[in-house]
Amino acid sequence: MNAIIELFSYDFFQKAFLAAVFASISCGIIGAYIVSRRIVFISGGITHASFGGIGLAFFLGFNPLLGAVLFAVLSALGIQFFTKVAEIREDSSIAIWWSLGMALGIIFVFLTPGYTPNLMSYLFGNILTVTTSELWWMFMLNSVIVLFFAVFLRKILYIAFDEEFARTAGLPVALFNYLIMVLIALTVVLNIRVVGIILILSLLTIPQATANLFTNDFKRLLVYSSLFAFVGTIAGLFISYFLNIPSGAAIIFTLVIIFGILRLVKTFV
């Protein structure tokens, strides 16, 4: 116990704790939406495409997160464009953007002179190295997401459940879909530092699957998902510190274990 209290006196651990809180809220809410709407694969595409932006940023020497945002939003729009305008099947357009982003990322990183030490932390995440400015960005994103979902909860829910009916009811369906797509892109990018590109999909789906064991109410799903994400992230953080293993992997592993145990408990109790 003393060891845990002592941990909180370290600056890096306070930051990591805050990052865990922010990641849990944003991924909990956005993930619950993604899972309910069955757009997990799109989110995976956006996540991986953002690697192209990180590579570009390394190559040209600007902030990698900025590059990631650029590519995430571009791929989100690109997937929509390929599907709706170019009439390519949706899963195929997702796969195209997914792999295009990764390929560009690898090319840019290869062309960048010298060693890129941070690359691993973008692929696999490292919550223990999150910076103050990144925390501010995460804080702002969280504020926007919480506010947006609090104010428009019913409209978001109705559009997500039955888009056609929502259109007949006069709701601005396209506008909402577009706005939430941007929020998904931002959530993915700003949480890359916590669990990394390769693992972020789990923070968007595993706590939600766990929450879904206990509720079928959309509002509750948003809250429970954030709570389960928080428990898993914090526990994973401690495990990572004390066992000295990578934090992203430890967090995901904890999330899966929590889901597995509760799923079994639900079956046998």
């Binding site: 309910s36 109705y158 997500a160 459940f161 259109r167 007949t168 509720t215 079928n216 959309f218």
Partner: protein, 248 residues
């Protein structure tokens, strides 16, 4: 009295292949129009065009004054098979989604009271907190009917409300619709031609083209002239016609 909706020379296409061609139709107050026709004949497409969900290739859909505006007073019950049954939403929230955008004062509490009353009326008040995926076919249809009615529509559009339901509920549904018809117009798409002819006032046969029959009885000669590829098996005390299957 102007018709609520006047459709003129409407052509709707998917990927340039016309599904509906040169359709004319009027829907007036207190109409109870049954839309019948083969699968893929364009019944649902006609509804989607009216609801503004599908842009027509050519032709016009005029709405009367009371039907115009961003939120048209149309209640819509979509095909249940298009609904994601695993979506985390409660029955009560589904019903409430029918009343959003009413910019009146206390809109929220009015909608909630109305939703309660409708659920009570349809006999499904007991399942209001259940998830949508836990319902039977009949319960689902009732819940979606509540949602369609929440906004006090002037026209009710139902797309095959008799799928996944038992005979008893079907009877109850048509009784309910006949009663609702005293106050609003109804457009009912069904594959069960026999049952709907017992309650609708007029029939539109849709198979790329639309043929309008101003009564609920169609004779075989009429059908032969119109080339409607449908068969009617009717029963009970209502005047009925039994038709042979024929090809367009």
């Amino acid at each position: 009295m102007d018709p609520l909706i006047k459709i003129e020379n409407l052509t709707v296409a998917y990927d340039k292949v016309p599904v509906l061609e040169n359709v004319d139709l009027e829907i007036r107050e207190n109409d109870f129009l049954g839309v019948i026709g083969p699968n893929g004949g364009g019944k649902t497409t006609l509804l989607k065009a009216i609801l503004g969900l599908k842009r027509p290739e050519s032709g016009k859909i005029h709405f009367s004054k009371e039907m115009s505006g961003r939120k048209k007073p149309i209640g819509y019950l979509p095909q249940v098979r298009d609904i994601d049954r695993k979506f985390p939403i409660t029955v009560f929230d589904v019903v409430l989604s029918g009343g959003i955008m009413q910019n009146r004062q206390n809109a929220k509490s009015i909608a909630k009271d109305k939703a309660e009353a409708l659920l009570e009326e349809m006999g499904v008040a007991g399942i209001r907190n259940k998830a949508i995926g836990e319902l039977s076919g009949g319960q689902m249809q009732r819940v979606f009917l509540c949602r369609a009615l929440l906004s006090d529509p002037k026209l009710l559009i139902l797309d095959e409300p008799d799928t996944f339901v038992d005979n008893r509920f079907e009877g109850e549904l048509y009784e309910k619709l006949e009663k609702l018809n005293e106050e609003l117009a109804i457009l009912l798409v069904s594959h069960d031609v026999g049952t709907i002819t017992s309650c609708v006032k007029s029939i539109a046969c849709v198979n790329k083209y639309l043929h309008y029959h101003p009564s609920n009885v169609i004779s075989q000669e009429q059908l032969a002239n119109y080339n409607c590829p449908i068969q009617i098996i009717s029963h009970g005390e209502i005047p009925h016609t039994v038709l042979k299957h024929h090809h367009h």
